[in-house]
């Protein structure tokens, strides 16, 4: 009898993502890009929690969204290592 594959067999235990920073988030973090290692499942919500813990001033922003592959991603979206990820503080174009 073949052993059942565990649910997490196809994904590593952690996910390393790179995050592009713009505007005030770049000033808060002090870099235009950072890497973070997140436990699975590496959701958008988990990334925001991780970053707000590491950089508490991010919590003071009136909004903070995450973009994945050039579109807004919701809190449950699971990040992958090759995703193009960016923090989106309150925008002010126009």
């Amino acid at each position: 009898m073949i052993a059942k594959t565990p649910d997490n067999a196809t994904q590593p235990a952690a996910c390393r993502v790179r995050i592009a920073l713009f505007g005030v988030t770049k000033d808060i973090v002090g870099q235009s890009e950072i890497s973070r290692t997140l436990p699975q499942p590496a959701t958008v919500a988990a990334l925001l929690d991780d970053l707000k813990a590491a950089y508490p001033r991010l919590s003071g922003l009136s909004s903070l969204a995450v973009a994945v592959n050039n579109d807004y991603a919701d809190a449950a979206y699971c990040l992958r290592e090759n995703d193009e990820i960016a923090l989106i503080p309150p925008v002010s174009g126009g």
Partner: protein, 136 residues
């Protein structure tokens, strides 16, 4: 015409981009750098864009406007980099058969641009600077 540029915007070129023999109406919105903001004198502005996503979002907005109104053409040009007082920061131009839809679509585009397109404005004053959050 959906463009981010670090060069001065030629408004006439943006308007020319929406011309159509079927369009009787063109509405154009022009956003200009003001000399006063937050009760301070503005020395200059700096716009930063997440360029790939900003262009994608602008193209989505143009497509949405064409679905919601009988729009012939849409053009959106936004500056990036350093701007002086009086310079044009953004131009939105829309052509439609009749005027009501031109106003509605143009206002929708600039309102939504200010809410969703990843562009950030830093105002530089005589005594400091600040990243602006849109009034939303």
């Amino acid at each position: 015409m959906i463009v981010l540029t670090d060069q001065p915007i030629a408004v006439a070129d943006v308007i020319a981009a929406v011309q159509s023999d079927r369009a009787g109406a063109v509405d154009v919105f022009i956003g200009v750098v003001r000399n006063r903001s937050q009760s301070k004198n503005v020395v200059r502005l700096e716009y930063e864009a997440y360029e790939a996503m900003a262009l994608r979002k602008l193209r989505e907005l143009a497509a949405e406007a064409k679905m919601r109104w009988p729009v012939e053409e849409v053009a959106i040009v936004h500056r990036k980099g350093v701007l002086q007082v009086g310079e044009v920061a953004v131009v939105v131009a829309v052509s439609t058969p009749h005027r009501k839809e031109a106003f509605e679509a143009c206002q929708y585009l600039i309102d939504t641009l200010k809410e969703v397109v990843p562009i950030w404005k830093k105002e530089v004053y005589e005594d400091g600077e600040t990243w602006i959050a849109a009034h939303a």
